[in-house]
């Protein structure tokens, strides 16, 4: 007898008890939906990091003080570490490394900006005049500050759109004065709007001032912790990374076996590290959800076992009127596969719906993963076969005479 007929028989048997079928499927529905939702959260985080990184530009490098990559205890954030990157180092990189096109230190100060009776707390980054080229900022009005502003430590500032919106009420801020820690700064330019980054942070809530000014007036230090470096091209980043490393080792007089006291990273390193974290998260979330899928499968087995007992007479009748035991076995197996696959399909739809709802409700980025969907389908079919096999075999092994007599 053909499989199609048995599939029809199984469907009819399931349709006779819709409530039970629905409850049985619930475990698989929740399991599959959870797997898909969890994996898409993980993938979403990954994708947003990727997008952020490509937003930074692929020819971007970070040079930071301290040997952050040396494993274990030497985190390099002590006094020694933080002083190892100097202004001279940066100038030497610009002068001597041919694969480097632009360079800018970055010193960060979180301060309050005051205009009249309005104030706004934001991040003021001390950078060089080359920053707009490195980080791809456009200037909306006015100008970015100049090299001579940096050299003289002038109190000039360039504002992001969010600050302008919050402090200037539609006035043109260029030429106006802003107070930072009671020091007046002259607004020389306004940045073009960048909007939110892929993780939902406002990129326009930022102000730039010459790093010399930020160091002296706001931070009271000469330390440089990080510098942005732009390589001449995306292909040149690796060369630049090696050349900067060689130059700094030479300048810091490090002999062969001494570890680096600085770190040069390119964006793909950063991306790799972020991806690794994300994929661990994805696996973790996915496997927790997978456990619920497993529990759902056990639920199917439970119901199928109960069902075999409950339907003993029915099985007896089927055998008596000419069903081979293999047909009975297939029927129960198909019932369980149909339950798990239907559950799986509903679960996929729910999972996709959840993946679409999560960004709106929680603000987390998600990315529905085809792998997760295919995986869930395969897994739920496997659950159906695996957990349906034992009850099906039990049903097929029944003796028709005994089964017909069963009360």
């Amino acid at each position: 007898m053909n499989l199609l007929a048995i599939i029809r028989i199984a469907y009819r048997a399931l349709a006779r008890n819709k409530m039970r079928a629905a409850l049985t499927m619930l475990g698989v529905i929740i399991g599959v939906a959870a797997v898909i939702a969890m994996v898409s959260i993980g993938q979403g985080a990954s994708a947003s990091v990727q997008a952020q990184i490509s937003n930074f530009g692929t020819n971007l490098l970070f040079v930071s003080a301290g040997a952050q990559n040396v494993g274990g205890v030497r985190s390099g954030t002590g006094d020694n570490g933080t002083n190892t990157l100097t202004e001279d180092d940066l100038q030497a990189i610009q002068r001597e490394v041919p694969s480097v096109s632009m360079i800018s230190p970055m010193v960060n100060s979180r301060s309050q900006l005051v205009v009249g009776n309005q104030n706004w707390n934001t991040s003021i980054q001390g950078v060089s005049e080359q920053l707009p080229g490195i980080r791809k900022w456009t200037i909306d009005s006015g100008d970015f500050f100049t090299e001579s502003d940096v050299r003289s430590g002038a109190r000039v500032i360039v504002l992001g759109q969010t600050i302008v919106d919050n402090l200037f009420n539609g006035m043109d801020p260029v030429g106006q004065s802003v107070r930072v820690m009671n020091l007046p700064f002259r607004v020389v330019g306004v940045l073009g709007r960048k909007g939110q980054d892929p993780q939902g942070r406002d990129q326009d809530d930022i102000a730039f001032a010459p790093y010399t000014t930020v160091q002296k007036k706001l931070l009271g230090t000469t330390r440089i912790q990080v510098a942005y470096v732009s390589a001449v091209s995306a292909d040149a980043t690796y060369t630049a990374q090696v050349q900067i490393g060689d130059l700094l080792r030479q300048r810091h007089k490090l002999s062969g076996n001494q570890p680096d006291d600085f770190t040069v990273r390119n964006m793909s390193d950063v991306a790799e590290a972020a991806n690794e974290t994300n994929s661990i998260m994805t696996w973790l979330l996915g496997s927790i959800a997978g456990v619920s899928l497993l529990v759902g499968g056990i639920g199917i087995m439970n119901i199928m076992l109960v069902s075999v007992t409950e339907r003993t007479r029915e099985i007896g009748v089927r055998l008596a009127i000419g069903a081979r035991s293999s047909a009975v076995k297939k029927q129960f197996l198909i019932e369980s596969i149909v339950l798990s696959l239907t559950g799986g399909t509903i679960g996929i739809l729910l999972g996709i719906a959840a993946s679409l709802a999560i960004p709106m409700m929680l603000g987390w980025p998600t990315l529905v993963s085809t792998t997760a969907i295919v995986g869930s389908v395969v897994f739920s079919a496997a659950v159906g076969i695996f957990f349906g096999y034992y009850p099906a075999r039990k049903a097929a092994a029944l003796d028709p005479i005994e089964a017909l007599r069963y009360e």
């Binding site: 006779r16 008890n17 009127i321």
Partner: protein
């Protein structure tokens, strides 16, 4: 219905039997030939001899009642005749084929093709319409959907259930449920219908109604019927009675004055049991 009638008539034996009805019974071909059937069960250390050499021939078109007390071997005989069980010794030829030592699957196929079962407890699938219940044996016999529908309708019509096709068992009376079960037994056009205490769960009037259907199928279509019962008045509707005792056939006789269920029904005061709902 017509199809079933035609098919029956085309069988040479049935035709012959139809014409020679009372005179030449012996000449009709045998449907069941049990030859020295033994059945022994082992229960723990004890061997139970359920059947001790049963030989029985049932010819096409016969209506045989099998009687006997419980433990007499009638159920075991029934199971062997129905190919639900195999004899320990002896041969069983069903419709010209030796089925005594067939495998489980082969016996399932034989049941599908040659035997229709009617049980005491009806054994219909619940929450399943009458017509789907009747279709069930044809699903296992791989008969296509159109033919299934057609035959199921005919079979339900043959047992007087026109218009009840979509009713579920819980919407049918006991008698109606048993008639659905008879339709289900008929639908694969078996060589033989086996009825195990078919009136055991029915009141006396409904019992007569069911017997009327059996008699009609037997007379009009020449269907061979084997009926297991412990009620002697039900056995009197058959044309022959076989009585079992202690695993052997004790008596085997023709019934001289076969009761006519149709006539009895007509003489009963009419009630509208069947056509309410």
């Amino acid at each position: 219905m017509a199809a079933i009638v035609e098919q029956r008539i085309q069988t040479p034996g049935a035709q012959f039997w139809r014409h020679q009805n009372l005179i030449e019974r012996v000449e009709a071909p045998a449907v069941i030939e049990l030859d020295h059937i033994h059945k022994t069960y082992t229960m723990g250390d004890v061997e139970v001899h359920a059947l001790r050499g049963v030989s029985l021939t049932i010819r096409e078109g016969e209506f045989v009642a099998i009687m006997g007390a419980s433990g007499s071997g009638k159920s075991t005989t029934m199971n062997i005749i129905g190919c639900l069980d195999r004899p320990t010794r002896g041969t069983y030829v069903l419709d010209g084929q030796d089925v005594s030592q067939l495998s489980k699957d082969e016996r399932a196929d034989i049941r599908s093709q040659k035997i229709g079962f009617v049980f005491q407890g009806f054994n219909l699938l619940s929450r399943t319409s009458a017509i789907e219940n009747v279709e069930l044996p044809m699903l296992y016999a791989s008969i296509d959907s159109q033919e299934r529908q057609k035959r199921a309708k005919e079979a339900l019509a043959a047992v007087g259930l026109v218009g009840r096709e979509q009713n579920h068992p819980n919407q049918l009376s006991g008698g109606q449920q048993q008639r659905v079960a008879i339709a289900r037994a008929l639908v694969n056009r078996p060589a033989l219908i086996l009825a195990d205490e078919p009136t055991g769960n029915l009141d006396s009037r409904t019992s007569i109604e069911v017997m009327e259907i059996f008699q009609r199928l037997n007379r009009e279509q020449g269907i061979t019927l084997v009926l297991v019962t412990h009620e002697s008045d039900i056995a009197e509707y058959a044309s022959r009675v076989v009585v079992f005792k202690d695993g052997r056939i004790k008596k085997d006789y023709e019934i001289e004055n076969q009761r006519d269920a149709g006539e009895e029904l007509r003489s009963l005061p009419p009630i509208e049991e069947d056509d309410e709902e």
